[in-house]
Amino acid sequence: MPALHHYRRRKFVNALMQVVTCVCALLVVVPLCLVFYHVLKLGLGSVNWAFFTQLPKPVGEAGGGMANAIVGTFELLGLAALIGVPVGVLGGIYLSEYGSARLNWAIRFAADVLNGVPSIIWGMVVWALVVVPLKTFSALAGGIVLGMMMIPLIMRTTEEVLRLVPNGYREAALALGIPQWRTIVQIVVRTALKGIATGVLLAVARVSGETAPLLFTAFGNRYWNHHLSEPIAALPLQIFNYAISAYEDWIRQAWAGALVLLLFVAIINVSVRVLTRDKLARGG
């Protein structure tokens, strides 16, 4: 009977597509597993005490470490947060608590567009704005470019999180005579603080791996950075410089650096997931 034949074919196609989509899902996961595997395998052996505490050695000599690059990355992230967090959080507050529908739509659109600007273009712009007038590559320039990249990210996540705070809280506070700004700062933001913090952490993790914008702002430094106006080493920059070379020792260190960076980023992302899952479970 034709109907039965068709049905069998439909069942087959159904089963086939379930398998196909499952396979595709696994394929998507495969590159990640491979990357983690190789970074672990090739980097683990080289992540030793020397790696964390020593400065790079002269070209061609084995040994040395990436201490200045690791500290440099943290310094840059700190600077970036100084810029990105206040602007992003306050901007997110505006989007969620104030503003008109049209203005807010435009701001959100602009923020999303900014999120899509390639990081190398940020680098060019900050080069023209900071490096050229100051006539030097600097940690300041590096921090500014990373901070600017964080602004739209933090703004959007802050807005989303603040939106989740029930309106009842705001209304209760206003009813008690608390001024609006204090309502926002001490009640709404405080309630959403964990969400805002996770948004900030995610933005930090996202810019910690950026290399392109640092190429012409932070520039790199073989030594410790002592001043905001000096060039500074950064982990992704150092990894890049070592990775494209032929020195086996440098390549070994590049893998080690990659492992440190990858773990840093992975740990932040996983902990954020765990934290937000808690939040959802508790109901906000």
Binding site: T21, L34, G88, A110, G116, I151
Partner: protein
């Protein structure tokens, strides 16, 4: 507010007024921070336009159609970079879009809860991997493997196409496309997932009621309903692909040229800037690089803008994007 203050005792009135001032200050501050995004966009646009002034005036439209990139003779045509960008992004989309949408379907329609949790964690982790680490892995693991295994196989079986002819270096436009695909998989997957999730349950139920199998429900009720949104996800992925720099730089071969073979090395707009920015010795050279940046900015803003519009139109304002 003033009328009320008049009726209250002076102290309380003063507190009100102070509160009002503080309110205005705070709102003003927040407003300032929020509109900084406009300032940033304008700043980026201005700096790029200003920085490419000379080149814009000297080359005009010729910049986009000439393939002569010659710093020595001060002739700059960006066509090879535009070609490289388009080809690598296209290859990346061709690989990533089917995989991502299939994965999104798997995650929303088929996978049990525990599988979904694990897979989503993995995919978000992949999104978090920095470009330079993928590039490192690309140089030492992916490219040698491609050179020894996939590329010769492709040349053997599909060598009748001009796409798969010619010498195999490993580093190539195809390698660039593949690594970009790996990088845009997570974003297309997660946005597609959101889109599919937002398809009303009623659609699915109606299809089931008519006796459709699970796949048919997905195909008829979900996918075709979500077509516009999925297209938006795809464009978003394209936007991301256009701007990728580091990993591409490390595996694409850095040779500005326009060729038919995917095995040949190439260069993209982003890699051109990364490679040559710090050493543009003449003003016109630097301007030409800024103009490349301007082209790249223009293209990514257009593509991302289009994607955002599509996604917002489909999912509504409540569905916030990345």
């Amino acid at each position: 507010m003033n009328a009320v203050a008049e009726k209250l005792p002076l102290a309380r009135a003063r507190r009100f007024a102070r509160g009002a001032l503080a309110d205005r200050l705070f709102k003003g501050l927040a407003w300032l921070m929020a509109v900084s995004v406009f300032v940033l966009i304008l700043l980026i646009g201005y700096e790029l336009a200003h920085g490419s002034n000379l080149a814009l005036r000297k080359f005009g439209w010729h910049f986009l159609i000439s393939s002569d990139w010659d710093p020595v003779n001060e002739q700059f045509g960006a066509l090879p970079f535009i070609f490289g960008t388009l080809v690598s992004s296209l290859v990346a989309l061709l690989i990533a879009v089917p995989l991502s949408i299939a994965t999104a379907v798997f995650l929303t329609e088929i996978a049990p809860n525990w599988v979904r949790q694990i897979l989503t964690t993995f995919i978000e982790l992949l999104a978090a991997v920095p470009s330079v680490i993928l590039g490192l892995w690309g140089i030492f693991v992916m490219v040698p493997w491609l050179r020894e295994n996939l590329f010769p196989w492709l040349r053997q079986w599909l060598g009748f196409l001009p796409l798969f002819r010619g010498p195999i270096y490993g580093v190539s436009l195809l390698a660039g496309g593949i690594i970009i695909a790996v990088m845009i998989l997570p974003i297309i997957t997660s946005v597609s997932r959101e889109i599919l999730r937002s398809v009303p349950g009623l659609q699915r139920e109606a299809a089931y009621a008519l006796g459709a199998t699970r796949w048919e429900v997905t195909r008829i009720a979900v996918l075709s309903y979500a077509k516009k949104g999925l297209f938006g996800a795809m464009i978003l992925g394209l936007g991301r692909a256009l701007g990728e720099t580091m990993a591409v730089l490390m595996v694409i071969g850095n040779r500005p040229q326009i060729v038919a073979s995917l095995f040949a090395p190439g260069a993209t707009l982003a890699t051109a800037v990364a490679n040559e920015f710090t050493e543009a010795t003449t003003d016109i050279y630097l301007n030409a690089l800024f103009e490349i940046g301007l082209v790249l900015l223009g293209v990514t803003v257009l593509v991302n803008g289009l994607a955002q519009l599509l996604l917002k139109a489909v999912a509504g304002p409540a569905n916030a994007q990345q």
